[in-house]
Chain length 354, copies 5
Amino acid sequence: MPKIIKKTRTGIGLPPGTLVYTGERKADKVKITEIVYDESEIQEKEVKDVEECFAPKDKPSVRWINIDGIHQLDIIEKVGKHFNLHPLVLEDIVNREQRPKMEDLGDYVFIVLKMFQFDEMEKRTKAEQISLVLTSDCVISFQESEGDVFDPIRTRLRENKGRIRKMGADYLVYSLIDAVVDNYFGILERLGETVEEIEDKVVVSPTPEVLQSIHSLKREMILLRKSVWPLREVINRLERWESPLIGNAIEIYFRDVYDHTIQVIDAIETFRDILSGMLDIYLSSISNRMNEVMKVLTIIATIFIPLTLVAGIYGMNFKFMPELEQPWGYPMAYLVMFAISLVMIVYFRRKKWI
Amino acid sequence: MPKIIKKTRTGIGLPPGTLVYTGERKADKVKITEIVYDESEIQEKEVKDVEECFAPKDKPSVRWINIDGIHQLDIIEKVGKHFNLHPLVLEDIVNREQRPKMEDLGDYVFIVLKMFQFDEMEKRTKAEQISLVLTSDCVISFQESEGDVFDPIRTRLRENKGRIRKMGADYLVYSLIDAVVDNYFGILERLGETVEEIEDKVVVSPTPEVLQSIHSLKREMILLRKSVWPLREVINRLERWESPLIGNAIEIYFRDVYDHTIQVIDAIETFRDILSGMLDIYLSSISNRMNEVMKVLTIIATIFIPLTLVAGIYGMNFKFMPELEQPWGYPMAYLVMFAISLVMIVYFRRKKWI
Amino acid sequence: MPKIIKKTRTGIGLPPGTLVYTGERKADKVKITEIVYDESEIQEKEVKDVEECFAPKDKPSVRWINIDGIHQLDIIEKVGKHFNLHPLVLEDIVNREQRPKMEDLGDYVFIVLKMFQFDEMEKRTKAEQISLVLTSDCVISFQESEGDVFDPIRTRLRENKGRIRKMGADYLVYSLIDAVVDNYFGILERLGETVEEIEDKVVVSPTPEVLQSIHSLKREMILLRKSVWPLREVINRLERWESPLIGNAIEIYFRDVYDHTIQVIDAIETFRDILSGMLDIYLSSISNRMNEVMKVLTIIATIFIPLTLVAGIYGMNFKFMPELEQPWGYPMAYLVMFAISLVMIVYFRRKKWI
Amino acid sequence: MPKIIKKTRTGIGLPPGTLVYTGERKADKVKITEIVYDESEIQEKEVKDVEECFAPKDKPSVRWINIDGIHQLDIIEKVGKHFNLHPLVLEDIVNREQRPKMEDLGDYVFIVLKMFQFDEMEKRTKAEQISLVLTSDCVISFQESEGDVFDPIRTRLRENKGRIRKMGADYLVYSLIDAVVDNYFGILERLGETVEEIEDKVVVSPTPEVLQSIHSLKREMILLRKSVWPLREVINRLERWESPLIGNAIEIYFRDVYDHTIQVIDAIETFRDILSGMLDIYLSSISNRMNEVMKVLTIIATIFIPLTLVAGIYGMNFKFMPELEQPWGYPMAYLVMFAISLVMIVYFRRKKWI
Amino acid sequence: MPKIIKKTRTGIGLPPGTLVYTGERKADKVKITEIVYDESEIQEKEVKDVEECFAPKDKPSVRWINIDGIHQLDIIEKVGKHFNLHPLVLEDIVNREQRPKMEDLGDYVFIVLKMFQFDEMEKRTKAEQISLVLTSDCVISFQESEGDVFDPIRTRLRENKGRIRKMGADYLVYSLIDAVVDNYFGILERLGETVEEIEDKVVVSPTPEVLQSIHSLKREMILLRKSVWPLREVINRLERWESPLIGNAIEIYFRDVYDHTIQVIDAIETFRDILSGMLDIYLSSISNRMNEVMKVLTIIATIFIPLTLVAGIYGMNFKFMPELEQPWGYPMAYLVMFAISLVMIVYFRRKKWI
């Protein structure tokens, strides 16, 4: 189960702006890639030292620096120093527990997002934090680990598809956010399938496992929701923001991705409603089953206890029991029993228990 | 059961503005009709190629192009090119998963609605997306398939009823939206009848099927609600919008359809409240039934178990049991049993169990 | 049970502004009364033809035209024509499913209200729609049928009580709204009494009928609420409205009736809270009863089953059972049984079940 | 149980501004006290006729007229006439069902509050309405009956403690409101103690009486809440109000009492949350008890029914039952029974039922 | 269990501005420390008399006076007099029941916070009130008792780490608030661990103790929430406040701590959701267990009661029962019993009860 909260600063009480990586320690090398492009040209390379990316450009091209891994603090510090980022921004980049947010710091805009990926191993959705820094001609993206949802953007850049090569850094930022939001649809589709599977099970066989599944789905929804609701606000602000860094032409694109976010929120809320409804069905299915068990018990007990009494009566040792002497006594006893059973069965039929 | 969410772009990661139809593939031909009218004249025709509709008009008449079928992307593209529609608008038109929305793009206003139809075959409500594009003298409506709620408008146009022929394209857009909202009342009436049917059943026979019906009605309400709440916002904005495309004279009509939307929302919320109440009744009906079953069991067991004991006692094989020798022993035993039963029955009467 | 929603236009798809009466067809004649008054004089008459009321007045008096019955559309149309009312306003007047609302149309203000009356026959609250049109010197009120809550106002007019004869048409409108809101208190008092009756029953005898009563009270509350919440907004707007038709001196009166509306809303919300609480009590009363039934069963079974075993043991036919031969065997068996019962009863006392 | 709503005007339909006392008829005489004070002097007297208080003052002192009893309408009318109060204000003063509110009528400010007192006799909280009228140099307070929470203020006035004698009429109004709000803390403390008592009982002995207590506490909370929520708004408006009657120096005091109101609201909401939680505990305690009862029944039945079968088998009268002839038959039967019991007990131990 | 509310003024009715300490009486001496620092120098001392801290400074340094203990009212009064604090502010400082709030009083800003500490002894979270007064060059902090979360700040001051020594008094206030908020993360982590422990138990062994734990966790959440929600508003106002006391350079820091507060609120709300979900699981686990108990009872009863009947029948004493005479009678009876058991077991298998 994912943790709900973690200490933001491992050493609580450190001065603000102190960089402390809050994820698990990793030995992985940080992978840094740089893509520089304009309408006519594109250069893509993996660099060893982030400082290679700080070289001045000879043309007004767009530079996208992608850093996979935020556990090597010296890299973050170098970037911070070169781009003159505020210490609190750097702190936020390495702190994995941020809420999606957007901050305009004059020379650059800082955006935090959550990217979700379904972990096939652990059968659950995992969140990864993505931080974006947008300057006038450069986008720097920070991810926790390799593997992301940006490959289609890289392909579009390489193959010069769509308008991405013609537009500036703001369009690149839009594209990255759009890719993240698009990815939510996939996650939600998968969750939707699970919801439907459980929905079938909950009526047929309301086992405790089904309850457990409903509970853990609910929990995934809570976590998703926590990431998507603030994202909506982020994108809304981006759409309306008056900043020289974000051109007016981009506004309609942000509105589009805003619409998508609302669709995601709608779907999450709908799933939450449906899951609540399923809990009600689960509880009443259990009640129904208990009812059925009780009915079987009652039918059996109610039919057989009187018969046992009849047998008990003729098992008494009184000297003077005339029936016992008669040849028709024994079959008569059976007849009485049969009659009692019949009456009972008719009674249960009337009550619609059988 | 309808899907809650679907991938908006079949190939997630395509550049924004790429047209991808998200419904099932259809072989149906797209049907395009054009109505051109002014106060004095009306021309109606079905065209094969959408480009036939782009012919310049010789008078200031209103043109309504209706396109039944959004799976043939080349048609959409031609329309987009002629009317200079933004690629994202075209993307929204062919993407069936839009939320109702309204966007003013300067030269034209783009509106997305959901039209509901009751599918007699599958016994459930089906949503269809309707996109409207309003320019200064033209309305283009896109539907997913043939069959809509606009026939009364066509009749009014043909027969020159009401003021529709005297008014401009904005009034036509209003009429289309009004027809869609009017149709909601029919859908809700039908759902209301189902609610009342279930309401009668839930007390009389709280079977699991009733629970299932409550659950699926709740789900239909969730889906309806998802379409109508944003529609309210859309119409509210249309009413207040300052655009040369929407005249001031239209405002009062949009206010009227806004009132209708609120009535629909009120009804949906009321149904939701009533359905929640029905679930409570269902659950307590089950409890009541279990109570009744338990009472029968308890009455039978409590009356017969003591009698069986009496019979058991006189079935013991002790040598010295004086009662056994007496002629009045056997009738006495019956008397004892009868007395016990009587006491029990009086006790249950007191408790009001019988 | 009242319908939640009805088709607003019997023929969905009619042009807006078409008058369609949505209630049951009635044969009743429409009753039209006219009261013309100023500070010194008052004239009251019942007219046959509504056009009699359109006669010009020779003094600046106030005219109140009251129309009981909205099913005769020609009358509505005549009024509409004379006072130059918008077709959509006329449509709203004859459509019984309006939400309370207020619209300023320049020359006149249009107000829709709901009046409630307790139907002694059907033992339930019935809503009736009241539409008011306020022009500079005239108020026209439309009701669905005869019988209203305005008699005190008529008396005040006739007897020149209070300030009503000294004030203008706006004060008359205020008085009518005030009478309607005042009437809500009576309805709520009656509902409050029913709530208290049920409250006593729910603990003493939680029968399914009580549940049914809670459910139908809840439903009445939902419907009342639907009428009163928008009314609050209507009166709030009337209080703040800048219109030559509504004088400033009236503001404090609207504030007063606004306060009353809030009191009504408070009461409705409180009743809803209390009804929810009663449902909880109902459910736990049922659980308590089931508990009691179970205890009786358990006590009886737990005491008698061991005794039956004892009897059974001494009813076995083994050759060598020394106890059977002894004279003290039989009383001994009774003693054993008595001891077992005693132990059980002490055990249940300890558990506080008896 | 307190009524939720009462007819505001006994004769619904009276003209607005008609004084109708809505409480029970009382024979008590109305008690009127007048305190006139400035920094140097204070005069306190009980007057017989309210008109004695209208005498002109020879110095710019503050006058506080306190009227205990609102059932003598002529007194209210005299006050109204002298201070030129609006008829609707007078109507509100004698109508006990007002919501807390504040109205600025130019020459004077009118405030309605609810004072709570715990009735030791009926063991429940009682609300009393307090109306305050603030003019430039006079405060008139109306109470329903004698006995209030203002004694500390009187003491402070007499003994010239704090700054009350140095300040104007607005400070006196603040002091009165502050005393009322302070009093809420006492009421809430008492309710808090009851909540804690019930909290202990609900787990130990979930009797229907506990449920009844939870329910009536919930109801008291609903009524308290109804009085305190609007009070918050009243005080907030007083703090921000721009009126020559309320000096700027008073603002910080109103902010202080506003903070106290928020504390009261916080406590009420917290109690409501806790009471809801207690209901859940109550319900599951009942379920737990039922579970325990069922277990006892099941254990007894499951152990003894098989033993009874064994006894029954050896009570059969077959001619050829070899065991019956054997001397070890009888002890063997006991052994079999003992073995069965043992197996059952081990099984229940495993299931942790014993 | 912590009290929800306490009388704010021990003697309700005291004049506003009267200092009354509302905690338990303490004999502890109040500890006063003073730290005076600028970029180059730092002086730290513990003073006996608070007046030692009022000495004029010869340089524009920042002074931080920390007062541990608010039960010695004369100290508070001296501070109030020297810094010219409003009597109501002093009253708030010594009253432990304040809500977090921020007030700008012109010459100084007054802030109230809640600091939480986990009491290892009583195993529950304890709140302590912290009041901060910010003047242009001085910060005074009041705590209820020794022991706080400010040690890291003291260390940073002493060792001149970060920018704290370079900044003014406003940055010191920010640092103190930041330390308090940072501390919430620790508290929430601990609560989160408890939540996860209970989450495991609730399915495996839903004992009443687990219910009790859920309930008390819920209660802790309610209390935490009560402190953190208003804190959010406080920090938001600090961020936006236009005051010469709070520099613009501080704004970004307050935004950072605001983000942290939102994270804390998010976590609290998530925990509340999860705890609600756990209650549902608890209730259905109990239902499941009851179901299982019922099944065991039903299986045993349903198998053995018919067998007992068979034994009872052959225990009857009829003269003419041919089976009894046959040598195969006895084994036959066993066979019949075995057959009945088999049928029953197969039936239960089918129903999936075994």
